[in-house]
Structure formats: C-alpha cells, structure tokens
Assembly symmetry: D2
C-alpha cells in the first residue's frame, strides 16, 4: 500500500501516522520527492482499513498495491479450485451446463423440464423457488413449496439442484439443496454471506448489476473467510446505458476473474440478455472464451404458445444448443 | 400500457392475448398502422407483470404509460406526506437536520456528539451500530451494544435516533429505534422491505448505488404495500465513472422524486462525496434545491488529530455549517 | 410514435397539436383513457423532431414505436449488406481479419508487420497515422507521413489499408486509403460524418465509449443519408464501472446490431480489453458469436523486449491465434 | 509515478526499464517488499506516456501520484483564473448569468430574447447557430446566418455572445464571437482543441457525457498547451442510468473542479435536466454550491403556445428566477 501525503503535512502528524502503522506490524518506507512525500507500506495490509487512512488529515490519497482479498486470490492459491457437486466437477477445464425453468410452477413442470434437460446433457437442475421481483405486485415464487418440488425432481432424475436464497431465515429450507445461489441484488447482503460461510454446500455467487470484479471477490471473501471455500463466481450481465438487451454480458469477466482468482466462473446468458434468441449466441461465446459452466433457463409451455419468446429457451431449442456447443467445446480443447 | 406487436403476429395468437388481457379487466384498444399494430390497454395495469407480456412470441415491445407504483405515486396522493418523528415534522416545507457519528464507538463518544449536534440545531441523532463493509476484515460495528448506546444518548439528549438495519433477524433490537434506516446495498432486499412494512416506525430508505428513481419508489412501494406509509427517500450518491468523489450526488433527485412522489426527500452529503470539505457546499446546494432533510456525519476525535479529514465534519465545522445554512433556508422561504 | 398528453391538456392546445401533426402527413389516432389521453401517430415519423414534441406544454411523454433510423434499419433492408474491400467481402457470413500495428512508426516496421500478418492470414492492414490521445503531451502519430508509409506497405503486400481520420481537413490525404476509420471519440462528430457520406470508400465506424446501439446507428445514418451506404459498425469496448480491463467488450452488440441493422459488425478485441493476453480469448468469443470481422493490433518489437506485454499481440502470438480461430470458424459454420 | 513490477521480473529487463527512465531525467527509487517490487519515479512525469509503461512485460501496474495536467492544475497555479469577456469578469467570486435561446431562429427572435434577458440581469447572450443533433433529419441550425444574427443582437444590446463551434472549418466565422463554446460531444475532438489553443477568445469547454474531471481537464490542457489560457469548464449533466432527467447534473463538479483547477466553472442547468421546471431549482443549487456562472436557455414563443414546456424558460420565468437567485447569492456572500 502506498500513502501519498499532502504537501504541508506537519512532522508531528507524520510521526503519529508512522507509529500507528508500525504498531500494525508494517514496515514504512519513506520517500521524499520535490513535490510529494510517499510512504510505502511493507507487510500484510489485508486487515488495514483503507478508508480510515484516507480520512487522515495529512493524507492526500492511498493506493493499494495488493488486492484486498486473500482467500479468493490466485496469487495465494495458484491452482484452480474444482467445486464438486454430486459426481460433477466444476472448474476442471470441462464444461458444465446447469439448466431449468426460471420459476418452479408445479411438480409436472419441474419434472418434465428436468428430464428433458438431463436427456440433452445438462448435469445440474436450476429452478427459482424464492423470486426477487422489483414489484411487490409480481409473482414472488412458490417459496418452500418450490424447494419441495425441486427435491422431487432431483429424486426423479438424480440431477443435483441449484436454487436461490433471499434471506437468512430461509436457510433451514436449503438443507438438501445442492448448490445455494446468491442473486445479484444480494451480492452485498453481508449478513447473509457470513451465514453461507458456515454452510457445507457450494455457493453460486452472482455479480451485482453495477459491481466490480473486486467487489464480487470481496463478497466471495466474506463466504470463504467464514469457512466455506466452495464458491462459484457468476457473471449474469451488468447494467450499462444500453437498454436493448436487459443487461450487458461482460464476457471479459471470464479471463479476468480466472486471472484474479482460482474460483470457477459461470456465465448466465439468459439473465444477461433477457432475449431468448440471444441465449444461444452468448452461450457459444462463453464456451469459446473458457467459461467453466453455463446456467440456462429452459421452460415447457405446451399450453401457452404466447410465451414462446421468453428469455427462456424451449426444451427443443436447448437440445439444439447443446448439440451446437459441442463444436465450440472441441475447438477450445484443441487450444489447450 | 402500450403493447407493440410483431409485424407477422398471427390472428390466433392475437386473439389469445386479447382474451388474456380482458380476463384481467382491461379494455384493449386495437390500432393498426401500415407497418405496426399497437394495443392500448385501459384500466388498472399496476398488477400486470410486464416481463411476462414482453416474453410473448407476438410481442415486439411493451411501453408503460403509467408508473408501476401506486402508494408512493403523487398522482394518486397529491398532498405531501409529512413524517412525524417525536415532535419533528419531516416534509412540511421546513428543513430537518439529522447528525451524528458514522459508527457508534463508546457511550462517551455518542453522548458527546449528541449533545453537541443538538446544541448546533440538529433534531435527530444518527449513528451506525450495524455497519455494512465491503471487506470482511473491516470493523463491522458494535451491533446490539451500539443500539444500546444510541438509546443512552437519546435518554440524555431527548433526540430521536436513526440507525441502520442489515437483516430481518435484527428487528427485535430496533423496537425502540425511532427511524429505521435501510442502506443503499439493501434497497432491493425485498424480504427485509416486506418485514419493515409491518413496523410502526418511519423508514429512511436509501437509494442504491446504481438504481433509478423508479426502482427506489418500487422499493418504497414494497414497504407501503405491507402497511407502513411513513417512508423517507434518501439520495446518498450514485456510482458514476467519476472516482474523484466516492459517489456522485444526484441533486436532481430532489425535484424529481418530489414530482413523482409525495414522500419526503433526504440528502446525505457525507456519503455522497466521501470528502469532508465537500459536505458543507453539498448541504447548501441540497437546501437551495428544496431537500426536506439532511443527514450529516459528525464526529469527535479530540485525541486523534490524524482523523480530522474524514467524510465526517468535526463538531465545530458542523456548528459553522448550521449557521451558514440559515441564509439558504431564508432564501428558499422567500421563493415560496 | 405515441404521444402521452398531460391530464389537464386544454382542448385548444390539443387541436393545435393535432393540426400540426396532420400538416406533417401523419394520421392521428386519439385514445382517451380514464386517467390518460394518448395520441397514436401513423405514417412516416422518421423526420419528426421528437425533442420538439416533448417540449410542448400539453405533452407528458413521447415514446417512439419505430426506430429513428431508416437507411441502416434491417426492417427496410432485410438482406445483409456485404462491404467489398479489394477482393474481400465483409458481411457475407465468413470471417475477415484486419491486423496491424497501433501506430505506424517507420517503413520497416509497417512493411514487416504487413508481410507477417498477411502470411498468417489477415486480409486487410490496419495502422494509426493520426492518433487521438487524451494527453496533448503524448505521441500524436506520424500523420501524413504515416499515411504515406501505409501506402508503401500496401504496395508491398497488396493488402488494402484501414486507418483513422480525425478531422475533415485531413480528407485529401485519405484519397487512396481503402477503408476510413472513425474513432470512438468522433462517433458523434456530425460534420465529419456528413463529409464521409460523400466519400466512395467504406467507413469503419467505431461505437463511442458510452453510446447506445441506436446512437451508433444514427451516426451510420448520417453517413448513409449523405450517400455512402458502405458502413461497417465496430464494437470496441464501452466504459463501465469495471477498470480492470480498459473498457468492457459488449459482445451482445454482435447479435443486437445484426438484428437491428443489415450492416456488417466488426469486433476490436485489442482496444476493448487493453490487455494483450485477453485478445486471443475475446477474439474466439467474437468468432463464436458471429462477428463479420476482427480488427487486431499486432506489433514487431525485436529490439524492445520490454514492450512485449502490450495490448498488441506479437507477430508470433497473432499467427498462433489465427490457427486457433480456425476451429471456432468451423464450429460456427456447422451451426448454419 | 509508481511502477509496480511483476513478481518474476528478470533483472535484465528491470535494468533496461531503469535506464530508459533515467534517460528521461527521472530519479528511480527502488523498493523491494516480500511480495512486490515497486519503483517510485521522482521528477517531471507529465510528459511520460503511461500506457507505454503499462504495456511493458515486467510491469504489473502503474499508478500516477501527480495529475497528468499542468497548465490547468491548481497546484501549479494557486490563484483563481478570472476570464474577462467584455466588461464581465468570470471567476472572481461573483455570479455571471449567460442566457439566450437554444437555437437562433430569426433576427426578431434573437434580438427580442437578448433585450429581455439583458433587462433581467444576464450579461452574456447565448444562442446556437451550429447545432449538433443525433439525427441527420433534425434541424441543424441556421449555421453562418445564425452567427450573423447573433452579431446583430450583440450590436443591439451590447451583450457579448457565446456560441458553439462544431468543426475547424467554421473557425473563420467565429472571428467576432466573444466566447467560443465546445460542445460535450466534441470535448475530445483533439484537432479542434489544438486549433482553439491558437484563438484569442475565451473557450467554454463542456464536459462530455461520460467523461471524468481529469479527462475534461486534459482537454482544457490541449487548449492551454497551445497558448490559450482562457478556458471555462462547463458541467452540463452526465449520462447515468437515470432517464427521468435527460442527463444527471453532477453538482459536485463545482467544488471538485475548483479544487483540482484554477479555471472558472460554469453550470448548464437547461441541458442537464432537459425539463424546464427543473432549471430554476438546479440554478439555485448551482449558486449555493459556488458556481462562477450559469448558462440558461430562454426562449420567446408568443405565437406558439404549444412550445411552452421546453427545457427553455420563458422570458418571464427567467426574470423571476433572476430575482429569486439574489437571496442565494447573498447567502453565499455571507459564507466568505
């Protein structure tokens, strides 16, 4: 960490700051230029409160040299983390596909979709029981009944299940859920993250709509610091000025997060675009760039022809996509 | 609401959609152009799920004509809501100033600051007990002990207290808190909002870092729809590309929110800029543009000269600001 | 176009507005709801100034139903535009690779790189002569000498050349340039766009850092409305809150722009990330999602080992990338 | 400037980098930590190309300690710059109001508005002759005829005139214009900025829609480095996710720019909000926070009652605003 001092910093205050830093087991390198004095800190600065230092009267600016996350940092953990879910390994270089409906609606629906996506090659089942909706008047999900139905579908197909938690109070209901998802709007629900650090299941952590990689990794750090190292990072589109797509998929998140961290990276092309016909092209791009997993919305609406243009793929379109992805998986294998 | 159909929408699907809308008690006006067909919906569309309609195969786009919030909407509630806290009225055209330290640190600290800000003219006391921090390694607040100390300061000074809740599980501790604050990162913690709708205390709802006015008002709607109509909207800076200030204060939020809604609008100049010497100029701008209240960080650090440049004002600087604000309050009175 | 009127719009003003619209050859459908009156306009609204209508006293809001661009709009031109540059067809379903150095530095440099990228499979040569730099103290390019050197490299290799124009006054120097590039910062330099509409060469139009697809297409419209229909749209990264990569590549721009428009779409992975080791993964994603062309920075720095980590690829790395791309091109061919 | 080296940087390359820096008259402080080596550069780094260094293979990151602008930097020019326009001083602590119509439409219009705003207290006249419009089909301004009409209004009222230039080729027409405005979309039209550096008139430089303070100051630096030191910085709203207002006025730009630079700061409340009834509250906020000048759109449309809701104020509303501003000017005087 580098501390840049104000031009007129009085010696007495500089001494106080230096002592304060040394008490925290840091070496302080003092470098005086013609127009600026700089302190270089050597030692473990992870536990230092950067805001506190910035607030000091004699400090002009503070610049971190090292990232403020440690457990999630590839520098301290060079090998890829492989997350195991059932018999599936996520992060081992292969491609995992997680598929299922946006919301769980009925036993028939979830079992039908589960069987279909399994037949097409998906190895995990997703489905929403608790639904975060911007409007209090919109459907809020089947909640505990939704979890029960997902477990039925798991029993029927053997597919491990992934579903979203919205509050600590729901934690008991998630005992048999295989992967607990944290939604974009809860990425910085720190109390929830701390509790998830005490769970034994892997966590699928979605990036917030306007959050940086570092903030995502700091949220992963919250979970990992509490003891749960099985975190998967999910890019699901960020908010930009473009509104033609619902969000903007930040595809560079794949190489970026894999450079900064050892955790697996999952792409959610369905929420990113919000347009079903873009799910297939975005999935191909995600495979080409090296994503560890895809999480894709698939629905069955035999009775509702009107709903065919959703961000969800039909089961037929998903099956076609799985076949098309093969060529891209092969091409990326050849680059290794 | 306006539904724009795709060019080649089959008549059978259009009939299905029309029936579906009529079942929801909406009149459907059909308007056929040379290159586009448009459906105009007349009736109460507040409870209509716009995403569901957008997903329909024959639909090209849906445009809302009316705002999706009702309880918070000035159109349905033309008079200003005045929120009463103790003997204070917020939203009646006057200026309320809420002040206090970022974090509660000790009884001596909070009582000292409370007495001082009261003497300078503040009528509510703020202080953080539960602190949302991006790093798990940063100070997380005194938590329940912090609440207890705030209540001591209230007993001492008579100032009602404002403090932040981070999770539903903390609700019992907030029984005697006068105003419950929801932080920017929890603006869309919908489970929390629903519970706060059942509280009797006013809620100070902060706008999320990348959220729109409509999203803020939808979150207010969550609270109001559950029965609590005493919501204050707080602008505390949004994320922009500018990083010189920590956030960017969106001062237009004052006239905008007051046009869209009848709820009082509070400005937080301390978090917006993150720079203590900008708190005073931003406060003046907020008063000039018509904010109902300011929430300002004030600290006492007699022993720590180093900390004097914080986003917090010293007690002396706060006192000076309160005197300077008088001229701006008078000037805005004259414009009425 | 839909005009939403204010609740209390006086009949006299409504009559004036209706007459004004009819004078512009538009049919006006009047639809009165319980709480809102809406005018639906039928006819050609492309030439209507939406801002002017929004400003009218009785108007609450105006919503476009049709896009405001026509020449660039796929709805009026369903077939893909194929841009011909020398013997190369861009936009015919194949992949074109444009490569070359960031700046032209010397004849030896540009000829060496040109020969090398041609041997690796590039079919157009890029190189900067006029360089837009945020600092007046940074290298501004070789300017007219740079153009001359590019033409030497073209003579040597037969590769058509692509280079950036920064001002109308430079136009004479571009007489023999094969493709004229408009940089991101000039995307809304409307005077320049109008002049380029009178050129015979294809234009490579880069999207501005914070511009929408519609704004990009409106800028293409400026060129096309002046008579030059050979416009290629280039996504080169947008500004977001993430600063780890220099910009954020909006990969969804490929399917989005190809849906909205018939013009070819080019991806610039070098400027998007600003990190050389991300050029290869981003290129693969761009090919997978269906980009018509890539524009990639390639340099030769035999004497300067220090410069090897640039956003530019070395000639060797570019050669390797071209070989690796083959698998992804084949995979996308199979999906047709 | 601080250069952070990669962990495994070979000594030979480090030697090359150190020599390269010393050749540029910089002292290099070498500071080796357990996990990172850092080079601190002492001397004039303004002319150093930061991108070039970032690209070097052994470099992990580069952090500027000093701002990259010098002429515009308050550190090197502590006293406020006062720009003189006619008898008016802008930047001397008082408030200057620039007013006039969005577009010049006719002699009668511009003279009428000029007389009216002068009577209300404006001391400069604004008016658009060349109009940057996103659509090629929208009105592009009266162009040279517009300049002529502005000069007529100047002759009639004695008010100096401010109008926008869009291209270098228009420069001859601006010989008698008192203040040349550079629009937001041309903020990084570097060729234009260089030419304006050779003009004798003050330049009103508007901040781009998604540009930072530093980028704005670098553009001012372009003008100043070419010899013209009379630059005024104008905040006119930035693009954010909020679309209720056309742009978001960044009011913090006033104290921020005045801290970073000695140049006067102008606020444009008309373009910022795009809503006429917000012009008055935003103007008051701008005065309260310390803006040196306001630039406000005022129109006369006696014949067109429909146009009364524009972002422009009527002459009557402007007159009322000028009276109301007095109280806020007085209040800020008292704080000095």
């Amino acid at each position: 960490m580098i501390i840049i001092l104000k031009k007129d910093a009085p010696a007495s205050q500089l001494d106080m700051l230096t002592s304060w830093l040394k008490e925290r087991n840091l070496q302080v390198h003092h470098s005086e230029g013609t127009s600026q004095t700089i302190l270089g800190l050597i030692g473990n600065t992870h536990h230092l409160d950067i805001d506190l230092i910035k607030q000091m009267e004699i400090v002009e600016d503070v610049k971190r040299i090292q990232e403020p996350f440690k457990n999630a940092n590839r520098k301290f953990h060079p090998l890829d983390t492989v997350v195991k879910v059932g018999t599936q390994n996520i992060g081992d270089g292969g491609l995992t596909v997680i598929a299922g409906p946006c919301s769980v609606e009925s036993e028939e629906q979830i079992v039908t979709v589960a069987r279909s996506v399994k037949a097409s090659g998906a190895t995990l089942l997703r489905g929403g029981a608790f639904k975060p909706r911007t409007s209090p008047y919109a459907f809020q999900g089947l909640r505990d009944e939704g979890i029960r139905l997902l477990l039925e579908a798991k029993k029927d197909t053997g597919l491990p299940i992934v579903t979203e938690i919205m509050d600590i109070s729901q934690l008991d209901l998630f005992a048999e859920v295989d992967v607990i998802q944290v939604g974009a709007r809860n990425m910085q629900n720190f109390e929830l993250l701390k509790q998830l650090g005490h769970c034994k299941q892997p966590i699928l952590l979605k990036r917030g709509l306007a959050n940086t990689y570092q903030e995502l990794l700091m949220s992963a750090e919250y979970i990992m610091a509490s003891g749960n190292e099985n975190v998967m990072l999910c890019e699901r589109g960020i908010r930009t000025f473009e509104t033609y797509t619902r969000n903007t998929l930040d595809i560079s998140a794949v190489p970026s997060l894999k450079t900064l961290s050892h955790l697996p990276v999952v792409i959610d092309p369905s929420h990113a675009a919000g347009i079903s016909r873009f799910v297939s092209p975005l999935s191909k791009a995600a495979v080409a760039i090296g994503a560890d997993a895809l999480i894709i919305e698939v629905h069955n609406n035999p009775a509702c022809a009107l709903c065919d243009g959703a961000q969800s793929l039909t089961m037929e379109a998903f099956d076609r996509l799985m076949k098309e992805l093969k060529g891209f998986v092969d091409a990326r294998e050849l680059c290794k």
